[in-house]
Amino acid sequence: MNKTIKRAGPPLLLLAPSILLIGVFVYGLIGANFRTSLTDGNTAAQATGQQPSATVWFENYFTLLGSEAFQHSLKNLFLYTAVFLAGTMIMGFLWAWMLDKPIRGEGIFRSVYLFPMAVSFVASGVVWRWLLNSNQGESASGLNRLFQMMGLDFLQNNWWNNVSVGIVAIAVPAIWQLSGYVMALFLAGFRGIPDELREAARMDGATEWKLYRYVLFPQLSPIALSALIIIGHMSLKAFDLIMSISKPANYQTKVPAVDMYVFKSSFEYANAAAVGSILLVIVALVIVPYLIRTNRKEH
């Protein structure tokens, strides 16, 4: 007994602060959030305890998921995530593939592609709001004006103000910002593959395509998965970029995170908490299988 304490005590003590902090501020608050989401506390009076709140279990969830407005938000979120993921993966991979060839000034290109990531979403959002101005014809500005100057008038569109797929326009700046990061990941992946493997494959008569298909891609797949998870969870939490390009009340660009903000501002804490829990579950669906997989590999 005494021995166990002596052996496990100090490490436990060392870990205690972070266990305590994470326990309270992450898991404790997730629990508190979930409890709030099960109540009917959707008024200011209930928020301060002037009036009691009753437990209504999953009623808020049913109402939310059944409402057309929230379904619209969810649809926007999945559309945004799909385009954002596809865009960053394709661009990131292409850039990495090109930079993998020995070219002059690789460092410069690498920095140029990576730089947008250093800009905050809020700052780039302000610029992109102007670029994605939805005026067409005479009063056009931003990208629409650029299309006119290049004689590509037919490309003009109303960007994020399209009511069904407007959210995709907001994925464009997100792709612009994060592709460089995916490129860096893939580039590291390419560099991690020893030259001997390529040489061996070529010796065996593999074509360039076969070399990629059977030698390089399999070795890149863990990197691709990490990139998917990182970009995917960022995308599901999308909030700042949307808020700085559009406005919280704009129907065409609503996503759950924006709904949560609007609910919170009108004292509908239970609904806000329910949206938070739904987002957590969606993100967990992406991340938990990944964690299980990596955990298994390590053992």
Binding site: P17, T48, Q50, S139, S246, Y251, Q252, S265, S266
Partner: protein, 430 residues
């Protein structure tokens, strides 16, 4: 080994102790601030506003000047929070009130926007201050009625704004054969001129993001229904599902068809700027817009004209900034002194001269104010006063949010008039 273990245990202990102390230190500061430092509840006053820039800041500075003259022993502490047309301030205020750490007084729109704070028992009834400062006679009876909730008044208005104003660029109008001095009696007459501008390829009416569209909606409802039926929308005597409302919403649909396509990305200054720059003919905005024109040295009558939204002549669609007395304010006497200055003739005159709005008091001397303000003061004295929807006077925040959602959905084209109407009805049913 032994020493090592002991050292590591000590390090861990120190780390825990440090964290605990840090946590205690924080909470100690927050709570302990006022009683120790203040002692006397009239030593200082923290005034929480979102007046951090432009004409709003100038107004606040003028009001503080007057406050220092009236109450030289009370220290003024500026709690202004910038950003998002007040939304950043409201967010912070909400969490401070929630944590029982209220400022001594905070800015809020007078009217039903206060309902949430009242229900949450976060602000005090200040009716007796109205008697103490003789404010019941100083403010118009209509206004007192509009801000009385269940027999009690919860804030003291510092200024009045008018929401139902059309701003127009006379050059654009004349170029297209429209007389800028023309007086419209109904929306239909106005539509004719809007059509003319539309055909000429000018943006007839500029509008910005959702809240300005709700602002336009409210003035359209007022124009189409008239003041009595408009008031009835908020007390339940006008049916939201009725045919008159349908007609009003059709008018709104038509008005929106005249507006700029990039509206959802703009805020009001950019929409008003379109009129100033001659890129749009008209803009419907509250009379804070006059500051935007004056800052650019535009002169009322020659460079821009202003008139009530067609169909709302004789009606004053009001919104007011006001100050409250939060429950548990650390310096209640300081706050009362501030409220006295806010309600006083000198305070209102100084504040509104700088901010561009008009005093809520009827005894202010119009000659102290600018040309536009004089017309607004005159209207405020004689017109029927109704409450603004978009600016929190007519409904609680949750209703306004639901109305905004429905409006945004409608103006982006995701719903038709019938759906819009039923969503508005649902929003106002609570």
């Amino acid at each position: 080994m032994r020493v090592n273990r002991r050292t590591s245990a000590m390090v861990a202990g120190v780390a825990i102790l440090g964290l605990t102390l840090a946590a205690c230190g924080d909470s100690g500061n927050e709570g302990g601030d006022s009683p120790e430092a203040g002692g006397d509840s009239a030593s200082e006053v923290e005034v929480f506003t979102w007046w951090a820039a432009g004409s709003e800041k100038a107004g606040l500075d003028a009001l503080v000047g007057e406050f220092n003259a009236q109450h030289p022993d009370i220290e003024f502490i500026n709690g202004a929070v910038a950003g998002g047309a007040g939304s950043a301030a409201k967010d912070l205020l909400q969490s401070r009130l929630q944590a029982n750490d209220p400022p001594d007084t905070f800015q809020a729109h007078a009217g039903l926007e206060l309902q949430d704070y009242i229900n949450a028992a976060q602000i005090e009834d200040v009716s007796d201050l109205y008697d103490e400062f003789d404010l019941r006679e100083a403010f118009p009876a209509d206004l007192i009625d509009r801000i009385t909730q269940d027999g009690a008044i919860y804030s003291i208005p510092s200024n009045i704004h008018r929401a139902n104003v059309v701003w127009a660029n006379p050059t654009v109008l004349e170029d297209n054969g429209i007389d800028p001095a023309k007086e419209y009696t109904s929306l239909d007459e106005w539509f004719t001129d809007l059509d003319t501008l539309q055909d000429a390829g000018v943006t007839p009416l500029s509008v910005a993001t959702t809240w300005t569209q709700v602002h336009l909606l409210e003035t359209t409802l007022l124009a189409s229904l008239g003041a009595d039926a408009y008031n009835g929308l908020w007390d339940g005597s006008t049916d939201w599902e009725g045919a008159e409302v349908t007609a009003a919403l059709e008018d709104f649909e038509q008005l929106m068809s005249y507006t700029n396509t990039d509206r959802d990305g703009l805020d009001w200054p950019e929409a008003t700027q379109l009129v100033i720059d001659g890129q749009a003919g008209y803009n419907v905005m509250g009379d804070w817009a006059v500051a935007a024109f004056e800052e650019q040295d535009k002169v009322l009558g020659t460079d821009f004209v202003a008139f009530p939204v067609p169909g709302t002549d004789g009606v004053f669609d009001f919104l007011a900034d006001s100050f409250t007395l939060p429950v548990g304010a650390p310096h209640p006497d300081g706050a009362k002194a501030w409220l006295q200055t806010v309600g006083s003739l000198e305070g209102q005159t100084a504040f509104n001269q700088a901010k561009g709005s008009i005093p809520a008091r009827t005894d202010a001397n119009p000659a102290d104010f600018s040309e536009y303000q004089q017309t607004a003061i005159e209207s405020f004295g004689q017109d029927t006063i109704v409450s603004s929807l978009a600016h929190g006077a007519a409904t609680p925040v949750a209703t306004l949010n639901a109305v905004s959602d429905a409006t945004s959905k409608f103006t982006t084209g995701a719903s038709d008039v019938a759906t819009f109407q039923s969503e508005l009805a649902a929003a106002n049913a609570g």
